[in-house]
Structure formats: structure tokens, C-alpha cells
């Protein structure tokens, strides 16, 4: 297991290095003057020239790249051209809200995706299977921002059941402020016993989490169904049934455990994909995470922010894949042996 981890970390670092080079080149190739982004298009030419020199954009590209790499290692990822604040600080203050949203979405998608996949595999071609197929394909194909808007129209506009936007209501922020312990506001509200804030936060989390969960839920449900059907056709399952083991036990304890590894891979990839899915969801729900920041950075061609977010996304993918591989190794001795 240790050798697996060391190998994976090594290859991850190489991947990240290549990504920094690719993103750096792309960001410099795109026609856009970073000084204009920093100072606005109305800044006079002398001011723009001064800013280019101050920010180092007038140096040769290889020097800029080496400087950037050194900054990555030393924790200086540059300042956002739009907000003028360190990019790491911008990401750091926003990441907890995104991670809470991501965690809630993936938890929902994983649990219900697996359950739906198992239920769908019970009677292939049946009514439940058909309904779950429609739900899965709908979740995968519907654009996240569209789904989010639809959910807002239904649950906010028509049914008046849930809040439309934000992570907490203004009343909660003023009347039940959350003490900052870990930086994760929902978690902090729970551990500090601020149940009013926690309840308010959970209510606000429902719609964005459902929206973000739609795509991975569809994927996980389909993959689980397919794996279950394959496993349920195995001889040992037939044998267990023949021995009179209850079908519930055969399906949920025996077959599911062996059907999970492919779904684990999908869960890992879906989690990393969902990180980019937050870009749209956070805009629609005004969720205070990195997605909003990323959207603004891309529209304004804010190089340092775009590069940081890309690296964060790549890092997320690599971590998710590593976690999936480790879980698979735990579940499946054949992976450990290989």
C-alpha cells in the first residue's frame, strides 16, 4: 500500500508540473493585457506600463514561469488581478463553503446513486428500472444551471418551501452568528451548538446540493446497476441463492460489495467533476464558494486566479483518483496483490 501511495504521489506531481506549464502558456497566449485587467481599460498608458513592470509581466516568459513555479513552492501564488488580494487567500476563504457543498452533494449522490442502482438491478426492464433510468439520464444530461433555476422556480417561487440563494439567511448572520472554529461554517455551527444556524444552513444547502448531485447521482446509479447485473450473474451468487440465503442479503451484502469497485472509480471521477460543476451552481445560488470566484476570474481573464483554480481542480482530480484507488485496494485484494 505504501508503495502504491508513493508511486501515485510521484506521478501526481509530474502531472501538476505539466499542467502548470500548459496553463501558463495558454494564459500568455490569449490576447489580453493583464495590466488592463488590473487597472481597468481607462487607465492611462503610463500607468499600465508601470503596472506591467511592477507585476513582472514585461519579463521574458521563461523567467516569469520559473518565478511562478518558485512562488507555487513557497506559497506565493500571485495576487488576483481583479481583487488585488493574494490568490491563495481568496481561495482559502472560499474553499470551505465549496467543500461543504461538494460533500453534501456527493454524499447524497453516492448513497442514493448506489441504492437506486441496486433497486434498478432487481428487475431489469421493470417499472422501477425504467423510472430510475429516466432519472439517471435526466440527471446526467440536464445542465446544472438550468436544473438549479428550475428547482428555484418550483421550491421557492411556487411552493415557498426553501430559500433561493446564499448559505445562511441575513437574520441568522445577525441574530445567531456562527463562531469560527474550523472555517467550515456549517460544521462550526453544529459543533458550537448553534442549532438555529445549523438548521438554517442545512435548509439553504438543500437546493444547491441537489443540483450539484444530479450528474454524479445519474452516473453512479447507472454504473452500479450495470455492475450489479454482472455480479448477480456470477456462479457464487447462484450458489448462495441455492443455499437459501435471503435475496436481500445476497443483493446488499454479497453482490454489492463486489459490484462497488467500478462504482468507486466513477464516484472519484464524479467528485472531481463536481468540483467544476460548482462554478455554475454557485452562481445560480449565490453560494459563497470558489465557483463564483472562478466564473468572475475567467470572464475577466484574471491569469493568476485562473491558474490557481486550474491547479486546485487538477489537484482535486488527483486526490480523488488516489482515494478511489486506495478504497479499491482495500475492497479488492486482487488490486492489492497487483
Amino acid at each position: 500500500m505504501t508503495r502504491l501511495i508513493i508511486r501515485r504521489v510521484g506521478s501526481a506531481l509530474l502531472v501538476l508540473l505539466v499542467i502548470t506549464l500548459v496553463v501558463f502558456i495558454l494564459s500568455r497566449v490569449i490576447p489580453s493585457d493583464p495590466a488592463v485587467v488590473y487597472a481597468g481599460p481607462k487607465a492611462p498608458p503610463e500607468e499600465l506600463a508601470r503596472i506591467r513592470t511592477r507585476l513582472g509581466f514585461d519579463r521574458p516568459l521563461p523567467i516569469q514561469y520559473l518565478d511562478y513555479l518558485w512562488g507555487l513552492v513557497t506559497g506565493n501564488w500571485g495576487d488576483s488581478l481583479s481583487t488585488k488580494r493574494p490568490v491563495l487567500l481568496e481561495l482559502g476563504t472560499r474553499l470551505p463553503a465549496t467543500l461543504e457543498l461538494l460533500f453534501a452533494a456527493m454524499l447524497f449522490a453516492t448513497v442514493f446513486g448506489i441504492v437506486l442502482g441496486v433497486v434498478a438491478s432487481k428487475r431489469p426492464g421493470g417499472v422501477a428500472d425504467g423510472a430510475i433510468r429516466i432519472l439517471s439520464i435526466g440527471g446526467v444530461s440536464m445542465p446544472a444551471f438550468w436544473l438549479g433555476l428550475l428547482l428555484q422556480v418550483l421550491f421557492v417561487g411556487q411552493l415557498h418551501l426553501l430559500p433561493a440563494t446564499g448559505a445562511f439567511s441575513t437574520q441568522t448572520q445577525y441574530l445567531h452568528p456562527i463562531a469560527n472554529v474550523t472555517g467550515f461554517p456549517l460544521f462550526d455551527s453544529l459543533i458550537t451548538g448553534n442549532f438555529v444556524a445549523w438548521g438554517d444552513g442545512m435548509t439553504h444547502l438543500i437546493l444547491p446540493a441537489l443540483t450539484l448531485a444530479a450528474y454524479p447521482l445519474g452516473l453512479i446509479a447507472r454504473m452500479t446497476r450495470a455492475s450489479m447485473l454482472e455480479v448477480l450473474g456470477q456462479d457464487y451468487v447462484f450458489t448462495a441463492n441455492a443455499y437459501g440465503v435471503r435475496s436481500f442479503m445476497v443483493r446488499w451484502r454479497l453482490a454489492l460489495k463486489n459490484a462497488l469497485p467500478p462504482s468507486m472509480t466513477i464516484i472519484g471521477l464524479a467528485a472531481a467533476y463536481a468540483l467544476t460543476g460548482t462554478f455554475f451552481v454557485e452562481v445560480v445560488f449565490n453560494w459563497p464558494g470558489i465557483g463564483q470566484f472562478a466564473s468572475t476570474a475567467m470572464l475577466s481573464v484574471d491569469y493568476p486566479s485562473i491558474m490557481a483554480i486550474t491547479l486546485l481542480g487538477a489537484f482535486g482530480y488527483l486526490v480523488a483518483n488516489l482515494a478511489v484507488d486506495l478504497v479499491q485496494a482495500r475492497l479488492d485484494p486482487r488490486v492489492r496483490a497487483s
Binding site: E90, T170, V301
Partner: protein, 531 residues
């Protein structure tokens, strides 16, 4: 071990956990807005991001907040007001007959939020800082010297006559800032970025979460007691997306939203029981022609294209009817706007005739770029394309981020786009020195004149008008009108339309009329619950 009993225990635990969660959630109903109705907290959704808290360097949308925290020497009033200006830090002012000396009398008894008193030295310090390093430092270009002749008098001596009342009322580069803060920021350009502020305005900055929220608190020692804020707290959620702001308003999560999707204003107003309010704004749409190369170096071709544009349709489709066709590049309501400046009306026959006269009867092909992030441009540009097609002009349209099309236009005019659609607004309320000068005055190294048009007669008229604005505004107006007349006839660009500012005022709020001179600022102090 009894597997069944363990399983039942686990299921029971799950059930209890679910019940507890549901009980906690059921106690929470969808959040209603802040306590706006009782005068405590006003909640707002605003798209304005903060690029800097430095009032001297400020040159962007943070004017929404700074306009409530800081004050200039005087405020420019909306068009049609009884008085052109409202005194602020300056109680009164006068200018010499030649317009080269401006004297401002500083109000007594005003304090900065940090407790320092406002005097002539503080004003001089602010102006000197702005001259040196403001984002909009160029507005002080006419200034030769600025001195405090006594504790309450500031005298500006100019190199050439200029409208210093308009300059001193600018939304950029004219805030009066506490001396200690100015001194600190002189040696540390990140001084203000922690959210420090040093103004005299009706609000202080209580809290700032970058990209998320700005909270303003009423300043309890505000000098203008008759205009003290009604709401003690203004909680502004930074909401870049207009549709999201709409959702917040209709769900009553906020009392007011500064930006809403234009296509939905009528339905949203009905939903919230509010009033749609449209007013002049300094924003307008124009399109530069690249006059450095054929065929757009021929005025007849440019005039032909000007006759082809369906101006009314652009307004109806682009901004849902909330706009007026431009009379040149100066927006309605801003000096030196004049409705006597000619306009083109769509006349396809005339357009074709002009094209034939210029030798392009068989048609031609042009490239146009517009800002992909501007939804109005995305809506109206196809109408221009269709209209041009009717006169035999094929328009290849490319949507690019503004920064990218800007870069393309500036890099090499020989390779730049033929037509560059621009959304523009003047830095302060003198569109003569801004729009007419910056956009079309010739220059060896153009900064904003991305039509690269050069016309000595136009330059002379604009230069002359600029020298008259400070001493004889009527003469300046007349001279600018001659310049605009020439400009429209030569058509180095398409002067499309002046966009209006559109807001929804909820029925339970009283909101001050929009001031086109401060387009990014909603003044929160006058906002109060409707009686």
C-alpha cells in the same frame, strides 16, 4: 451474535438521526429578508465587486460603496434638477472670469470617520494624492497648483481653463480622504485593502467579506444631520449574476437589488409589487470603424453603414426599449449632450446608393467583434448583421471577452477588426473632455480612439471647447455641438444608443432618483421605508 438484532439497532439509530434532522430543519422556514421594514437593516443584492478599497486608486465598480463612505467637494445633480450642484465638503465655490482660478470654501464642523477634522489642508492633501496616483489622475491635468490659503479655503490655479466644479464632483479621483490614512497609504499601497476606510460620508465600512458581502453602518457623527441614513446597517450581498439577484428579490431575501435582467423587470416588478424606474445614464453603445484601411477609410462607406442600422430595433431588442438613439457619442443628460446633433435614420436605399457611389455596389465583407460578456450586445449585434446583409455587406461577427477584443484593436490597426462594438461611459460629468476627446481626438498613439480617425478640424473644435468649459459653458456647448455635427457626418463610428438605468423600487421602500453622474452608486442614506 444475533445479526438481526444488530441490524435492527443500526436501523433504529438511523431512524432517530433522521428524525432529529427533520425536526431541526422543520423549525426553519425559507429566510425572509432582513429587518428592512423596521429601519434597522437594509438588505441589498448588488453586482458591484470591490477591486480596491483605496479611494484614490478606485476606478471601478467599488464606487457603489465608496460613494456612500466618502464625499467629494460637491455633488453633481441629475439633469433637470433646480440646482446643478449640491455642496458637500465645500460649502460654496467661485471661479475667476477667465476660469483659471477656482476657490472652494470648506465646510466647518465636518469630521472624518477616524475623528480627524476636515480642513483645507486635508482637501489639498486629497487632491495632491489624486493628481499623483489616482486611477483617474488625468481629470486633474488642468491643475497647476492647489493650496490652502487658510483653514477653510482651497484655491486651485489652472494651467488652462477647465470645469473644476465637474472635476471636483467626479465619482473617481475626487474623494476627500483623512490625512493619516493618506499618509499611511503613501508608503503602503495595500493599506486600504484590509477594508480600512477614511471618509466623511453617511456610512462607515463595518464588514467586508471579499466577493461575498459588504456591510455599511450609519456614521453617528455625520455632519449632514438632515440627510442622515434611515437604516443603521446596509447589508450588501455581492451577487454578480442578475438572475440570481432577481431570485433573491422575488424570494424576499433582499429588500432591493441594484441589477436585474432587463427582460424580466416588468414581470419582477409585478411580482414584488414595485415600480419600474428608468432614468438617463451615462452609458452608451457605439461601434468604432477601423478607418486605417479600405473600405472604412471612405466616409461614404461609413455613412452607408450608418444608414443601414435599425436603431429602434437595437434598442427594443438590446435593452428592451430602455434607451434612446444617440445624438453622437455624448450620452443623454451629460454635458455637452444636445438633441440638435444629427442622427442617422435607417434608410436602406440611401445606404445602397452610398455604397454604389463609393464603388462597392457588389457588396463587401467586414469583421465585427463585440463583448461576449455583454448580454445586450449579444442581442442586438445580430440585428446589425441582418441589416447589413440587406445592403450587400457580409458581416463576420465574433464574440470575444472585452479584454481580448480591446487587445486586438490596440495591437496593430492593420490587423484589427473592422468594427469594434463598445459600451462606454465618461469618467466624470464632462463628456466633452472624455467621450469627444478620448474617443475621437486624433493622436499619434491612440489610447481610446480605436477608430484611428484623424481630423484636424474636429480636433481644433474639441480643443477650443475644452478651454471654454471652465469659463463660458454656453460657448463650450456651442463649440462642442459643431464638433459633434462634424463627427456624425464623418461617421468614424456608429453612434447606436444611450442606455437607460433601470431599477425596480419595491412598494415598501422610498428610493432616491437615480443620478446619472454617479452611475455605479446607489445612495443608501436617503432610502427609507415607504410611509
Amino acid at each position: 451474535m444475533d445479526v438481526t438484532r444488530i441490524k435492527r439497532g443500526r436501523l433504529a439509530a438511523l431512524g432517530i438521526a433522521a428524525a432529529v434532522s427533520l425536526a431541526a430543519l422543520s423549525g426553519c422556514s425559507p429566510a425572509s429578508s432582513g429587518t428592512g421594514a423596521d429601519g434597522g437593516v437594509l438588505t441589498v443584492a448588488a453586482s458591484a465587486a470591490v477591486t480596491t478599497w483605496d479611494p484614490v486608486a478606485s476606478f471601478s465598480t467599488e464606487a457603489l460603496y465608496l460613494g456612500n463612505i466618502y464625499e467629494p467637494l460637491l455633488w453633481k445633480n441629475p439633469e433637470g434638477s433646480t440646482e446643478a450642484f449640491t455642496p458637500a465638503i465645500a460649502e460654496k465655490w467661485e471661479t475667476s472670469a477667465d476660469g483659471l482660478t477656482w476657490t472652494f470654501h470648506i465646510r466647518k464642523g465636518v469630521t472624518f470617520h477616524d475623528g480627524e477634522k476636515v480642513d483645507a489642508d486635508a482637501v489639498v492633501g486629497s487632491i495632491e494624492a489624486a493628481r499623483k496616483r489616482a486611477g483617474a489622475a488625468f481629470i486633474w491635468a488642468p491643475l497647476d497648483t492647489v493650496t490652502a490659503t487658510d483653514a477653510s479655503t482651497v484655491v486651485m490655479k489652472l494651467k488652462y481653463s477647465a470645469p473644476m466644479d465637474l472635476v471636483a464632483a467626479s465619482t473617481y479621483g475626487a474623494w476627500i480622504v483623512a490625512p493619516k490614512a493618506l499618509a499611511a497609504s503613501a508608503s503602503n499601497d495595500k493599506y486600504f485593502e484590509k477594508g480600512i476606510e477614511a471618509g466623511t460620508g453617511p456610512f462607515t465600512l463595518k464588514d467586508y467579506e471579499p466577493g461575498k458581502k459588504v456591510v455599511l453602518q450609519a456614521y453617528n457623527k455625520y455632519w449632514n444631520t438632515s440627510k442622515a441614513p434611515h437604516y443603521k446597517i446596509v447589508d450588501i450581498s455581492i451577487t454578480p449574476d442578475a438572475v440570481t439577484a432577481q431570485q433573491m428579490l422575488t424570494a424576499k431575501e433582499v429588500d432591493f437589488a441594484t441589477t436585474l435582467p432587463l427582460e424580466n423587470v416588468d414581470s419582477v416588478a409585478k411580482q414584488v409589487g414595485g415600480e419600474v424606474r428608468a432614468a438617463n445614464s451615462p452609458f452608451n453603445y457605439l461601434a468604432y470603424f477601423n478607418t486605417t484601411r479600405a473600405p472604412l477609410n471612405d466616409p461614404k462607406v461609413r455613412q452607408a453603414l450608418s444608414y443601414a442600422v435599425p436603431y429602434k430595433d437595437l434598442i427594443d431588442v438590446g435593452v428592451q426599449g430602455y434607451g434612446t438613439q444617440s445624438h453622437g457619442p455624448v450620452p443623454k443628460g451629460i454635458f455637452p449632450y444636445s438633441d440638435q446633433v444629427p442622427q442617422y435614420k435607417q434608410d436602406l436605399d440611401k445606404a445602397k446608393a452610398l455604397l454604389a457611389e463609393s464603388g462597392h455596389a457588389s457588396g463587401l465583407t467586414l469583421n465585427l467583434t463585440y463583448a461576449s460578456e455583454n448580454p445586450a450586445e449579444a442581442r442586438f449585434v445580430p440585428l446589425i448583421k441582418d441589416a447589413f446583409a440587406k445592403i450587400g455587406v457580409t458581416l463576420n461577427v465574433t464574440a470575444e471577452l472585452f479584454n481580448q477584443q480591446w487587445e486586438k484593436a490596440k495591437a496593430d490597426p492593420a490587423n484589427a477588426q473592422d468594427i469594434f462594438v463598445v459600451y462606454y461611459w465618461p469618467t466624470y460629468s464632462d463628456a466633452g473632455s472624455d467621450n469627444l476627446n478620448s474617443l475621437f481626438h486624433s493622436s499619434d498613439k491612440p489610447f481610446f480612439n480605436l477608430s484611428y480617425w484623424k481630423n484636424a478640424e474636429y480636433d481644433a473644435l474639441v480643443d477650443k471647447a475644452g478651454t471654454l468649459t471652465g469659463s463660458d459653458r454656453a460657448a463650450a456647448q456651442a463649440t462642442y455641438e459643431k464638433a459633434m455635427d462634424l463627427l456624425v457626418k464623418q461617421a468614424p463610428g456608429l453612434f447606436l444608443f444611450d442606455a437607460q438605468s433601470v431599477t425596480i423600487v419595491p412598494k415598501d421602500l422610498k428610493v432616491q432618483k437615480f443620478n446619472e453622474n454617479y452611475p455605479f452608486t446607489t445612495f443608501f442614506a436617503p432610502i427609507a421605508p415607504a410611509a
